[in-house]
Symmetry: C2
Subunit: 225 residues, 2 copies
């Protein structure tokens, strides 16, 4: 666990909390390390969570599956990311989404339930933790708004362009590398995979974009160099 502590100190959630405090905290609440194989579910929609998850290594996707088997990827998280916190911090809501290991992953499960709901005087760094959490959830919020901007677009082409424009802004380049393959990207956009490929091809033919695998270049992009 010791080498994990060093890593955990770099995680935004534990900003401003020193090594001893962190060691004490994790022991005190009974955090447990657990490994998951690819495609294994970490949290399941419908459960009432008591722990947040912190990714020590690997990759986790937050997904939503409906009765028809349609899958939507809501988030794609890598080492250092925290998940499940909204449902804990909002006050014990049943999960409306699932967390699934996108590859073999090592997760630290922290029973934050008590921590978030007990009296604020519990520990001196308790308030720091809540403040960090507020910042993280707020940013997550902004991220969700960005995704909504994509998914509410009326045509697939607009969705693709909006998504690529967001990546371009993040990566500050008109040539961007998407973290998702075709299957996952289609799920993210809320579209059919074959429709996505088809539209990408059309857009390339019309010289709107150029792409190879998961690298895309916006041609005549405005606002980015």
């Amino acid at each position: 666990m010791e080498n994990n502590i060093k890593f955990l100190q770099t995680v935004p959630l534990f900003n401003g909390i020193d090594e001893e405090e962190l060691t004490h905290l994790l022991g005190c609440i009974g955090a447990k390390k657990k490994t998951y194989v690819k495609n294994e579910f970490i949290f399941l929609s419908g459960d009432i969570p008591t722990s947040i998850g912190i990714i020590l290594s690997g990759r986790v996707q937050i997904i939503k599956e409906d009765a028809f088997g349609n899958r939507t990827i809501l988030n794609d998280l890598s080492a250092g990311a925290v998940f499940g916190e909204s449902f804990i911090c909002g006050g014990k809501f049943p999960l409306t989404v699932s967390a699934q290991a996108a590859e073999n992953s090592s997760i630290l499960l922290c029973p934050f339930d008590l921590l978030m709901h007990m009296c604020p005087q519990a520990c001196e760094f308790h308030n720091t933790l809540i403040r960090n959490m507020m910042v993280m959830v707020s940013r997550q919020n902004i991220k969700l708004l960005a995704q909504l901007e994509v998914t509410t677009k009326r045509s697939l082409r607009e969705k693709i362009l909006t998504y690529l424009a967001q990546l371009a802004q993040e990566q500050n380049s008109a040539t961007v590398t998407a973290p998702l393959g075709r299957v996952d990207l289609a799920d993210f956009l809320g579209a059919d995979r074959s429709s996505l490929t088809r539209e990408l091809k059309r857009m390339q033919e019309e010289d709107l974009i150029q792409y190879d695998k998961n690298t895309y270049t916006l041609v005549n992009a405005v606002g980015v160099k």
Copy 2:
């Protein structure tokens, strides 16, 4: 302002903060009441906000407009609601959305910028405020996830059914009243208004739903009475 204090005490953000503290707080940070006429913008996309808004009366919509003039309604808020907080609490991000008065409204603008970023020892109730904010932003997060569930649906019919199912769960009834009219609902679903009307009509013909104005009944709904 006195009668506003009574009202503000009922707002979740100020949970656990008593009248004197609240009066002091608002004076200290320089909160200002301002009125807006219908359709007036309160916050504009691109601005870096320094205040959060609290609705004293009226109705405010959080919207996103793109270059083509497509408008998406991200949220529809009434008295007591707070907006703009994610961009303050996440750490001074430029707004990616706008806030617009949906009817004549009275708004309390609270310069929370400093408050959220200054040293935690500022006031004794400062930590209460941050905790409240964390809970609110987390819930907002869950709400955004619900909206994503709707907008990522692959067909308009599924979007409508998902939206109505969510309302049915909230209102615990198979007959629900939507807070949005056709125009706004179409924007919310990310669809064309005429397509929405057409699909609603078809669904009624197929006896999936029944509706009149903004009241909808799910026929053969599962999970609700």
